[in-house]
Structure formats: C-alpha cells, structure tokens
C-alpha cells in the first residue's frame, strides 16, 4: 500500500461544535470571618471555627436560590446569663431583599455549659434521631429534625453546633432587624407561597421576636435545651426561604459532604498549605453505589491570597481512581472563571460543562488553577482523606506546582464544595464504530479456492452468459464431460508438465494445470493463487490444480471457427504424482464470450488446492472466494467493471487532548483528490442525491457539515491518513461525530467518485 503525502489545503476544526454549554446552579454562599474571642471552658475537643463552618455548610446546601452571598463575622463574647448567642444584622438590601452582612457572638462568660464537638457532622454522642411532621395548611411537612439522648461529653451540655445552626438561620431571614421579616410577620406567621414547596402553609411565628413559635423547630425562640442536637426542619427552611424569597429547599438529616445528605460535597476550607499560581490539585471522585450518580455544576474552591484575582480553572478527567499526575489527561472537560475570594472563603466557579459521575464510576480529577494558586490542606490528622455525600465520594490526592509535571505533594486535600444535581452517567470513554458502507463493491472476476479434499464441484456444469453488465453464472448437474468431437475435430494436445500450449486458430492457449486463456503469458505455476489469477495478462477460465497431462490421460482441443466455439477436454488426466483421473471440460465462444465449465470425476489426493473461476486479463480487484455451488440455487453475477469501495478506519479513538486521525484505504490508482467529511449527523444517503452523476451504488454516511480538503493524492492504489478533528484543546465528552471520506478523479463529481463507510466517533476520556 502506498501512503500518500498530503498536499494540505485548509483544515478547519469542528471544535466549535464541541463548545461547552453554560449552566448555572448557584446557591447560598456564606463568607465566614472569625473575629476571635476567648473560647470558654467546655466539653468536647472542637473549636468554634469547625462548628461554625459546618453550620454554614448546612444552610448553604439546604437553601436553593439564585446566587447570593452573605458575609458573617463570628466570635466568642460575653452574653450574660441566660443568653447562649446573639445575631445582629449589619447590612441588608438587594433584590430579593436579604441580609448581606451580619455578626454572631457566642457566649463565653462561663454561664453556658457548651459541648463543642470536634466532629460536628458526626452525631454519635446522641442516641436517638427523631423527625416529626405536621400539616400547616400546605401538606405534611417535617417540623422536627433532632437528635436526643446525649452521652459522653455531650451529656448535660448545650450543643454549640445546634446554636450555630440557629444563629446562622437568623442571618438568612428570621431576624428582627431584617425588613423582609418585619413585612412578613404582620399576621404573626410565615405564609409559604410558590415556587417554594408546601405552598399554603402558615408557619407560626413568635409574637415577640424573630423566632418560630413551634417548639420542635430549630428556629424556635427560647427552646434551646441541653442534651440535644437540633437540625433545620423543613419548617425552618421554608420560613427563611419565604422571607428571603429563595426558590426552594433541600431538606437534610445529616451534614452535606459527610456520608449523608446531598449537594454540595464539601471537603474542608481549613487550608494550611497551598500551591503556586497555575498549579494543580488531583483527587478521585466516585459515584456512591445506590446514590444514582451526580452531575457537578459548579465548584467552590479555596484560592490562595487576599482575593480579587481574575481566576480561571481547567478541569481534567481520567478514568480510574489513581489520580496519576503524570498520566494521560487529555484536554479539559470543563472550565470556569471567577474573581477569587480571600483564602479560607469559597470562590464559586460555575463549570462551562457539567461533569457527570455515574453510580459506581470512579474518575480522577485535576483542577488546574489559572491566575491564582490553590489553597489546600495537608491530608494528615485531623483532616480526613475521604469525604462523601449520599451520591458522591471524594478521595483526596495530591498537588503539583506545575500541571501534570514534576513531583507531586501528597496527601493533599482539595478545599472545595462540589455542587451537584442528583443523577449522572459514567463519563464515556472515547469510542469508534463503523457505520454504513460507501460504494457497493463490484467485481469482474469470480472464483472459489478450496483444498483438494474439499472439492465439491464434480458433476456440475457451470454456464456463464455474457452481457454488457457482466456474466451471469448458473450451475446445473451434468453426467460428466461431453465426448470430444461435438464441436469440431478434436486435436490431442501435447502438454508439458506445468506449461501452456497454443491451440487452434482462435487464439486459445491451454495450460497444463487446468485452464484455458484467450492469449498467452499466464502463469504456469502449479500452486493455485488468487493473486496470480487476478493479475494474469490474459483472460482465462480456471479449474486450476496441479495436474500431470504430460504422462497421463489426454487433453484435446476442438473448435468451430464459424460459430467461434472452442472446447478443451482434460480426460483422465492425473493429479500430479497421483493415479487419480480428472475429467474437466472448457467451452468458450470467442464471438460472444460465453463459456461453460464441466466437471466429471476428479481425484481428492492432489497435492495442491483447487482454484475454479474466471478473471479478465490484467489487474483485477479481488472479490474473495465465492462458494460456487450456490450457482445451483441462483445465478452468480459478475460486473462489467470493478468498483473498489473505499474503506475508512479510525486511527485510535477521539480522546480529548489529541488530534483524532483517520485513514482512508482502498484508494484507486486513478483517484486524484481526497476529501474528508465531518458531520454532526449520521446519514445513509445515496450519493446520487448529492449529485446526479454519482454511481448509484455509492452512499454518503455523514452529513456534510464540514468538508476537509481536498487533499491531492496520486500514485495509488493506497491509503491516506487525515485529521478528523483536533481535540488538543479539549472539548465535551460523549459528543458524537460522524466521519466519512471520498475520492475523486479529474472528472471531479462523476460516476467514478468513490465514498467510504462511515465512522461514528464518540469523544471521551481515556
């Protein structure tokens, strides 16, 4: 095969077709500023920062809204006896009207006996979990979400986590200083309206303050008691969602990101380390079994520095959990940009293309920072290396100061919230498959090759009737060869071993090994070969095996010059070095090209195979071996000319990060131009629908969205490799593209135009 060099004309990428689609699923972002203060004596080994972050994470995950940022400053401070904590609104505004900044103080004067849980998302200090439902006019909703039965360090203590959840809840709507609350409280309840769930509910409010009047709710006033951990109920969430005009709620019974609950999956924002600007973090994400998968829409990252930087991220994916930073990552599957917040606070990057993690799938993710450096956490105690929700689990990995290069630092915990919707499929691997056919193959030649023991044509007469469109070959039973002399006077030919002799006056040449030709020059070889037959210089009919007419049987020739008929009879000729008789008879009409081939008895111990068939002189395309016994059932048709179909094959698969190449094979010697065709749609369209002169047996297998080339090719037959699409800079995974190719000669669009089968290519990761 010849590989053509490419004389390139413009190659246009269809990367635009792979452009990312924009989505948004922003929620509440609470910026947390710890202002200090002295921690009081307490049970438990936690600290206010950990507890407060867990409370903020909960509310962020539990309220659904358009993007909204709330800044909270929190601290320890003296509150006086009887008061656990206080929330003060600092500023409010916007549309919808919401608190934009607030301050929360937790009592440290010693009058409150706190339990400060080092693992606030692990309620193992409590024994009994309870929820309760009540109908407030809009259907049964959960108005209690509580752990009771405190044990160990929690026994007899006020839970700081519960109080933090309560105070953050004030900042999100239920605050006396919030004018939206004052507007809502006029009838002493919160009237829930659509689009929030449970519309029609009237949630009772305290008559004296910005609290719920339902004792079981987190936001109840004066309801803080020891020995319990109370979470936001649906009633609490709805009250704030209604006051602050948020669109929905996400009820949780466990912290987001810690083995329960839903979006977001949160690791930590307790950065104690970080990387260089432009560096990368690596980790694994797995769809939790039974969780239904997840589709990540945006990621909050911890960005190093003081904030205000124009940050970008490129997200890469590998199959498998190994997060090998030196492995093959392809191109980015999603990007994002944002102005960074200060380290310790989340910066939200909405992904240009959602990332799906199917249930049971495990993928490695790399996030490359642009314009900023990652702030992350060294993955040693007390920081965990795995984080999970009901749907998604993260395993911490490593970090490098340059993407996909150098030594990796590990373990490193990416500081992030992964916001997702439930449901997703496993990221697809890049795949290719063959679709359709180009042109129907047509052949002038026909043959069957078989070993000597398998010969099954004895007692068969093949009659080939010539026409302008080729031969029609039928088989009928025969008693054997016809006695010589029926056409003309037989002449016994003196045959050599492995040779050929001319016979008669009509140009016939007879081969020793069972063939007749319309001229000389064909191979005298005793080993039947399809390749030899297809390239012999003279048209011939073959019953080719290794025969020994020089010392066995007779070979006779007879002709009728008036009718053009000739007959060659091999009578009792032995197979070479055997005593088996072979009776074979060839008829040919030089006037009309019709021929017959009869088989009588043959031997089954010949040393060589059989090749039975017909081929014109000169180079012919190989139709492959055909079972000639089928001619007894229906006519076998040959064609007046060979039609060589192009075949297209992919070179590898369309992996993001590399060009996707294809090779067109079977290019005819006469072809001059090659065009690659890239479509967004699979078609199976007769080429004659594109231009009327086309060979009606040729089809187009991809929509004509982009034509690559023409590339100038010549010197075939051969193949041509071409670039289908450049995925070096990434693109979307799971995107289907359809490729095919065509060749043209100097007649350009004509019946000599050839098309190839199609290739369906689905972009993917490794």
């Amino acid at each position: 095969m010849t590989n053509f060099s490419r004389i390139g004309l413009g190659l246009t990428s269809v990367i635009a077709a792979l452009s990312f689609s924009q989505t948004a699923d922003a929620q509440v972002t609470i910026v947390r500023n710890f202002a200090g203060g002295s921690a009081p004596t307490a049970t438990g080994t936690g600290n206010l920062q950990t507890v407060f972050n867990a409370a903020c994470d909960w509310w962020e995950a539990a309220l659904v809204t358009s993007p909204y940022t709330l800044t909270l400053t929190y601290q320890w401070g003296s509150m006086g006896g009887g008061t656990l904590a206080a929330h003060s609104l600092v500023s409010q505004g916007g549309t919808p009207h919401r608190e934009t900044a607030g301050s929360i103080t937790f009592d440290n004067d010693g009058s409150t006996n706190w339990f400060i849980d080092s693992t606030p998302c692990d309620p193992s200090e409590y024994t009994t979990f309870t929820t309760n439902t009540t109908n407030y006019g809009g259907g049964l909703l959960i108005d209690e979400n509580v752990w009771t039965g405190a044990t160990g360090p929690a026994a007899g203590q006020f839970d700081l986590f519960r109080t933090a959840l309560h105070e953050v809840g004030h900042a999100l709507g239920l605050s006396s200083a919030n004018t939206a609350f004052q507007a809502e409280r006029t009838d002493n309840d919160v009237d829930v309206t659509s689009p929030r769930p449970f519309p029609g509910s009237s949630l009772p409010l305290s008559s004296t303050s910005a609290h719920m009047a339902v004792g079981s709710m987190l936001m109840c006033g004066g309801c803080a008691t020891q020995n319990q951990r109370r979470y936001p109920s649906e009633g609490d969430l709805l009250a704030n969602a209604q006051i602050s005009q948020m669109s929905g709620i996400n009820f949780l019974t466990a912290c987001p990101g810690t083995g329960g609950g839903g979006s977001p999956l949160t690791t930590t924002f307790a950065n104690n380390n970080g990387g260089a600007v432009g560096g990368a973090v690596y980790f694994a994400l797995e769809g939790v079994a039974g969780g239904g998968g997840a589709t990540i829409t945006d990621i909050d990252l911890n960005c190093a520095g003081f904030g205000g930087l124009a940050g970008t991220i490129d997200v890469y994916m590998q199959n498998g959990c190994s997060f090998d930073h030196l492995g093959v990552w392809g191109g980015p599957i999603a990007t994002g940009s944002a102005t960074t917040a200060a380290a310790g606070s989340p910066t939200n990057f909405v992904l240009s293309s959602p990332i799906e993690i199917g249930e049971g799938c495990c993928v490695s993710i790399a996030i490359v920072a642009g314009g900023f450096g990652h702030a992350y956490t060294t993955g040693t105690s007390p920081f965990a290396l795995t984080y999970a929700t009901t749907h998604l689990e993260l395993t911490a990995g490593s970090a490098t100061n340059a993407p996909f290069a150098g030594s990796a630092f590990n373990p490193r915990v990416v500081n992030a919230n992964f916001h997702y919707t439930v449901g997703g499929t496993c990221p697809p691997s890049a795949t290719v498959e063959t679709i359709g056919t180009g042109c129907v193959a047509n052949f002038e030649s026909v043959y069957e090759i078989m070993d000597t023991a398998s010969f099954d044509l004895s007692g068969q007469e093949f009659t080939a009737t010539n026409s302008a469109s080729g031969y029609s070959i039928a088989a009928t039973p025969t008693a054997g060869i016809i006695a010589p002399g029926a056409i003309g006077t037989p002449t016994t030919l003196v045959m050599p071993d492995d040779g050929q002799v001319p016979a008669g006056t009509l140009g016939i040449v007879v081969g020793s090994n069972g063939w007749i030709a319309l001229g000389g020059g064909n191979s005298n070889g005793f080993v039947p070969s399809a390749g030899t037959m297809l390239n012999n210089p003279s048209t011939a009919i073959y019953a080719w095996t290794d025969l020994q007419p020089n010392n066995s049987g007779t070979v006779t020739y007879e002709e009728n010059a008036a009718t053009g008929r000739v007959r060659v009879t091999f009578d009792d000729v032995h197979g070479w070095n055997t005593t088996d008789d072979h009776d074979i008879q060839f008829d040919y009409n030089v006037n009309n090209g019709n021929w017959q081939l009869r088989f009588g008895a043959v031997g089954f111990a010949n040393p060589e195979d059989w090749l039975v068939g017909y081929s014109p002189g000169g180079a012919n395309s190989d139709p492959g071996s055909t079972d000639l016994t089928l001619a007894a059932l229906f006519a076998i048709e040959t064609q007046a000319a060979d039609t060589i179909p192009l075949s297209l094959e992919a070179v590898g698969t369309p992996v993001l990060g590399a060009p996707f190449m294809l090779t067109t094979n079977g290019i005819e010697p006469t072809a001059i131009f090659h065009v690659g065709i890239v479509g967004l749609t699979q078609v199976s369209l007769p080429l004659s629908f594109v231009f009327t002169q086309a060979d009606p047996t040729c089809f187009l297998n991809a929509s004509l969205d982009l034509v690559m080339g023409p590339d100038i090719i010549f010197g075939g037959p051969g193949s041509h490799t071409w670039e289908g699409v450049d995925l070096t800079t990434g693109g979307a995974v799971g995107f289907d593209l359809y490729f095919t190719s065509a060749t043209l000669d100097l007649t350009v669009l004509s019946n000599s135009t050839r098309t190839a089968n199609g290739i369906k290519a689905t972009t993917g990761i490794q």
């Binding site: 206080a86 600092v90 004018t179």
Partner: protein, 122 residues
C-alpha cells in the same frame, strides 16, 4: 515547592462591637450647651438613626422605632455628674436596648449605644 498559606481573617473587633453595641449615627448635640434633653426623645432618635444605618426605609423606621424604645430603667449616677439611662424594649428572643449617658447639663455626653439582636436564650 509549596508555600505555606495563612488564612485571611478579617480582624473583627469593630464588627464585634457592632454586633452587640452598634454605634448609632445619630447626630447629637453632646457638647453643646442648652436646655436638658428629654431622654425618651433621645432614645427614639437613636433608634431611628440605627435603623437607618442598617438599611431600614424611612417609613418603617418612623413607624416602628418607638416599638423598640421600651421603658427606661432606673437611672444610675455616672462620673459625668449626670445619670445613665437605659431604655429596654427587649422581648423574649430579641434584644433591644439603648443606653444614654447624660452629663450634668442633662444632655448626652456621647452617642447613645443601641443594641439590637436576635438572641438565643435557654
């Protein structure tokens, strides 16, 4: 090479003060001479100023400020020769207080301090 980062934390002392003792922006005539001022009126104006600071529209603060003033606690003599009066409009779950430090001339010696918070009580 990693570089160690330190979390940026806004020093919140001023915010801490604001959380429990928001300084009213009310314009006072603290140092001016003149007739003694009515403490109740000073308290009301202090509330209006505070509510304005935290974003309340004028009609709401005019309508509701008086609800937060509450009753005056017994006055306490102070080092300025006057008395300190606290008006407490707190209700269960809500802290609403304003303290006015009066000088000997019966006028405030400093901007009254307004406390307005949602509180969690046991």
């Amino acid at each position: 090479m990693t570089s160690k980062l330190f979390s940026l934390r806004v020093v919140g002392s001023l915010v801490l003060v604001a959380s429990l003792a928001a300084v009213s922006a009310v314009a006072t005539t603290t140092q001016q001479s003149g007739a003694p001022q009515d403490a109740q009126a000073v308290a009301l104006e202090s509330w209006k100023a505070h509510l304005e600071t935290i974003g309340w529209p004028q009609d709401m603060r005019n309508r509701m400020a008086a609800d937060f003033v509450g009753k005056a606690s017994p006055s306490v003599a102070n080092e300025f020769g006057g008395v300190t009066i606290t008006f407490d409009g707190s209700t269960p779950g809500m802290l609403a207080k304003v303290s006015i430090v009066m000088g000997a001339n019966g006028r405030p010696v400093a901007k009254p301090v307004v406390q307005f918070a949602d509180i969690s009580e046991r």
